[in-house]
């Protein structure tokens, strides 16, 4: 059992069902999981095993059918949609395989958006967005529309957007799934830097290389966690 004070995410008997009766799909099946502060956790498993669903539950994008979910000292599985939105705004940052950037907004504007939603002044939001874009190596691309960026650059913009409100937890769903190996490497290095800076990461991936950089790897099958490995090669845990 991990020191409770250090646990950032705790899932207990977490379950998510889709549909009813014959068509019932148990996408997440009684999952117990703890992620400690500063940890990088990789989630792997075959397609359709429930990885994305689990990630969405952890970040409050969807509500579990049953079970308990804690973020820090706060129980979040029963929160209202309003409260979940605030949670996503303040505490969690998402990175998606499909980037999900807004096509009509420039990189800079995409990154600014969560900051503006969080009530920062436009000036603060702009400054913060510049700073983060610089951090992900896209200082000179702020004025570009997503359509004018490469896949790797788009994903770095998406990561910058996830970071703009300084969340406690980054959830990434196959962040390199749409990228070639060079671009994958860039994103990988970025995650490592973030991790080294103390950020907690949960990354769903099919990519062994990404998994190898994590502190810990869990494997899912049919909605359950089947296997848990502490990876030797992982970056040192921080507390």
């Amino acid at each position: 059992m991990t020191n409770p004070a250090r646990v950032l995410v705790r899932a207990h008997q977490l379950r998510k069902d889709y549909g009813h009766g014959e068509a019932l799909v148990r996408a997440v099946d009684d999952v117990d999981l703890e992620v400690v502060n500063g940890e990088a956790l990789a989630v792997m498993g075959p397609s359709g095993c429930g990885k994305s669903t689990l990630l969405h539950l952890l970040g409050g994008l969807d509500r579990p059918t049953s079970g308990e979910l804690w973020l820090g000292k706060r129980r979040i599985d029963q929160l209202s949609e309003q409260a979940l939105a605030e949670l996503r705004r303040q505490d969690v940052g998402f990175v998606f395989q499909a980037f999900h950037l807004m096509e009509e907004l420039t990189a800079q504007e995409n990154v600014e958006l969560p900051a503006l939603l969080a009530g920062r002044s436009p000036r603060q939001a702009r400054r913060r967005a510049r700073q983060i874009l610089d951090q992900v190596g896209l200082a000179d691309r702020g004025g570009h529309l997503p359509s004018a960026l490469s896949g790797g650059q788009r994903q770095r913009v998406a990561i910058a957007r996830a970071l703009v409100n300084e969340p406690r937890l980054i959830l990434a769903d196959e962040p390199t799934g749409n990228l070639d190996s060079a671009a994958t490497l860039g994103v990988l290095q970025l995650f490592e830097t973030l991790h080294a800076g103390g950020l907690t990461l949960v990354i769903v991936t099919h990519d062994e290389r990404i998994a190898a950089t994590a502190d810990r790897l869990v494997t899912m099958r049919d909605g359950t966690l089947v296997d848990e490995t502490g990876l030797v090669g992982g970056t040192a845990r921080r507390g």
Binding site: L61, R88, R89, A98, H100, L101, M102, E109, L117, P122
Partner: protein
Amino acid sequence: MGKLVVIWRLATKDLFHAKTRTMLTVTVIAAATATLTLGLALSGATSDPYAHTRAATAGPDVMVQSNVPANGKEAPTAAPPDLIALEHAPGVVGYSGPYPVATPSLVANGHTVASQAGGFVVEGREQTRALVDQPKVLEGTWVRPGAVVVESTYATELGVVPGDSIMLDGHSFRVAGVAVTAAWPSVNWPGILWLTEADARSLATPKYPLSYLLNLKLTNPAAATAFANAHSTNNLSAFSWQQISHQDARGIELEQEALVIGTWLLSMLAIACIAVLVAGRMAEQARRSGLLKAVGGTPRLVAAVLLTGHLLVAFVGALIGLAVGWLVVPVLSKPNDGLIGSPGAPTLSGATVAVVMAVAIGIAAVSTFRPARRAARMSTVAALADAPRSPRRRPVIVALSRWLPAPLLLGARLVARRPRRLLLAVASTAVTVATVVAVLAFWQGNSVSGVPGGLTNPVVMAVSNVLVVVTVVLVILAAVNAAFMAWATVLETRHSCAVARAFGATPEQVTFGLSAAQVLPSAIGALAGVPAGIGFYHLAKHGGAFVSPSVLSLAATLVATLLVIAALTAIPAALAGRRPVSEVLQSEVA
């Protein structure tokens, strides 16, 4: 044969697949065709009722009335000499009168009307036939001592029938009959009662003395207006039959004008609405067409499928529209009682049905043309890959909206992606508010200058009915339009909304933002609709005193409009907001 089955199956499947859209399109076409039906049916029913009445009653070419002398002067006990002199003026070939005209007060059916206020006049007549202006009795009999004949429009207004009784200056008179005349306008004018000459004279008082009325036949009826103008003096007021006829026709003209204008507005709204519907489906249809072509369909097959779908919708819409029009026509066209030969209930002729169907089919053909051409020209691969039109970047809106609160920031950006649709929404609101304001102005204008004694002029009622029906249809169409546009906006911005929510926007913020971003521009449209509606009304009534609905009713109209738009835009957004974000993001790749 097999091909026909395929076309039919594909077309109907598509319609059922996009149920809401199909229903909306049917509604829009039905509304447009219903109004068109009304317009055609009513305009087909124009006869010249005044001419019929004039012929049947030996109507005068000129009617001359002596004015009651101003206070202080002694009232004449007989017709003034200058009036009598007209009996043999050059150009006069016949006359009747002079008849005494009294202005008593009246109590009938609980209504109390002071004739002095211009509510009606009492004309004293011989019991025998007059050469000029012998009112035609429609019901009952002509005047006899102690009995009154009431002009038909006024009888309707008072709600009296032969056998009832009327009190004139406290004396009771039995209603002998109901008649029509061409010597007085039957609308927008005092009512007329006929008594025997003796009875009429008995109603004279020192305070309200008699005036006298002379009906003239001229050698040249066409020059009657010039004659009337030449013989109007301080003492005499003369009116030509053309002037009287003009007054009378106004009622029917107004009715038709209201309908014509209403039909125009409706058709514009309907076409705009259909344009939005079709444009909204283009991308989706291109993809379907690509799919069809990929499995071996020819461009012609694709076009046939599109056309079949649109034709079906147009046909069903037109049928409903015709049915509604057919039901409403009799309600609207209550004939003007004051004239014989006035239009009865217009019937739906075969021609009307044909025109309505042709218009509906035309709409279907036009709305098929662009998607069909596009589908035929586009390469199959491109059609398959065709994403919905990607949103245009609006740098100014994006930059400005940064300074807005979060909901408005989101709303402004999302709604600004489709400026044409927004413009249409604004225009639709403006047109609707303008119509409502014009109707309010009409009511205001006709209650201020209306008939004294709290009675309602039947013609005003008829016009009012037409206006109400047109307005109701217009409001329904505008609401459908607003609902559809809001719904399309929600569908299109679904992905962006989900992304915004993934990064912390609440569903309430998204809903409020989307709704506000559509309500605020509509508010401008609504405001613009107020002067437009007042202008509209004055245009339709060809000048006259300025009339404006009360500030209260205008404010109520604006508030109600904006509340309805707010609800119509908020509901689809709120419904969409109930879907979990993850589901939207999973199912849609940006």
